[in-house]
Amino acid sequence: MSTETLAAEAVHFSRGNRAVLAGASLSLAPKEIVCLLGRNGAGKTTLLRIMLSFLRPDHGTVRLDGRALSGVSRRVLAQRVAYVPQLHHPPFPYLVREVVGMGRLPSTGLFGQTSRSDRDAVEEVMASLDIAPLADRRYTQLSAGERQLVMIGRALAQGARLLVMDEPFTGLDYGHQMELMDRLRSLKDQGYGILMTTHQPDHAAMIATRVTTLVAGQIADDGPPENVIVPATIRRLYGVEMHSFGCAQSS
């Protein structure tokens, strides 16, 4: 097992008597963008939540750098792996600087004071994502694209090198989707590892270094996009024929 990887190994999870995951294995390492495809209700979000230690699997383990997550404290995990949730409105009008600043919580602890270095780290992250001009705006009043960047900012402020994102493109218009892809590519080039779920195979084709599919509770495909995003996979995943899909890849 190489260092700095997050890996789910043969994970099983059932809800009631319905098996959601039946031996799914998925890994994430730095310098890669892994897209997880699957139908609605295939268990993509469940797998992410298990890998983030929000849920405990029935069988199987998730390991961080080879250590089982059950033996890793939440605070330590939070400094290594960050979660970028789907877009939402929090009920209170926090400023952008305060939301990004929440990312320092794992380093300072619940009762710790923020130091100058914490505040500097927050300013640095905001500058790197070009959201410094938004610092004193209310998070609740930003556009969807801006809010997504603030959430990524909070994840970076945690100091984590691995980011787990739940449908990051949902709710963004086309222009913001393309901008976000550029951001994620540049994060990957800086050495971050990104795991994301998506409903759009074309997004996966454009951005992923590795594409995985979740079918019947298991990872059915795991490989470079040009091998995975082919008509046969699309048919198996979504039950539709994609005759013209090749044009997206022909470049």
């Binding site: 404290s73 939440r74 209170f92």
Partner: protein
Amino acid sequence: MSCSLSAEIEMKQVRRRALWQMIAAAGPPWELVLGAGLVLAMILALSVGKYPIAVAEIPQFFLASVGLGSVAADRYAALANVIIDIRLPRVLAAVLVGSALASSGAAFQAVFRNPLVSPGLLGVLSGASFGAALGIVLGVSWYFVQALAFVMGLGAVVFGVAVARLFGNSSTLTLVLGGIVSGALFSSLLSIIKYVADPMNALPNIVYWLMGNLAQSNLTQIAWLAIPMVGGVVLLGVLGRALDALAMGDDEARSLGVPVGVIRFAVIATATLVSSLTVSIAGMIGWIGLIVPHVVRLALGASNTRLMPSAAIFGAMFLLGADYLARTMANTEIPIGIVTELLGIPIFLLVLSRTNRGWNEH
């Protein structure tokens, strides 16, 4: 058109906030300003009443009582009687109750991610009233009355949340609905107690006390209640950063390293304890737990590290002010619960018009 208008409003807000920050950066820190404001409000409150005492005499009296400076002996005796025996219990009661209601309101709002909940709306005050009235009718000791108030207050929260869960989701609306149902249940249980209570003694006591009255506790009782109440308010105050993370959502708080279950339980239990104990000091005092957190959020921002202590101090000042009105508006004293309701409604409408943008989720 509307877009440029909202951009203009936004710019105005940014400018106003920048101005506020400049003032804040140039002046003394906000904790100091609020703390000084509270001390000043307490001194003013001690000077108000039928027996005339000049404001300057209050600090002179306290300095003299610790051996600094001197006050004529007969005047000192008169001041000691009025300030210590009559007015101080009342002022301390106002400070304790106001800070406990405001900080528990802010804590409930954060932990339930719902700006519309408060100790009153969640049914805590009704539950605690029922518990305390039950204790009075049963004739149990004073300490047991407090314990019953807390247990029934907690029961009311649990019942309200359970009703909300019954409807499947935990949206803003269903939790408010659950709180209303729980409040109604415990109000009707309270009515049963009133119905069976002795109409000559227990009933008038219960009714007058529940209307809200700060003058019914003596210094010893207040000193005993101050221990859990101040402790609880301080605990909620130091949990500010955890409350910020919880306000973003359970999964997000977990991903930031927060032990969600433990913190949520601790916050709900503490907020319920301190707000239940306000009922035994002063009866049911509504609105403070709802509006004070909103007013402070408008002035100082949403961050709970600042909101929790500021709301506690501002809540104390608000109740001192309301008590001043209750004592001076009419020839006879008006129950303070009535005053806070009369004050709370216009303030809440004002706050609502300023903040409802953030509440219209989707």
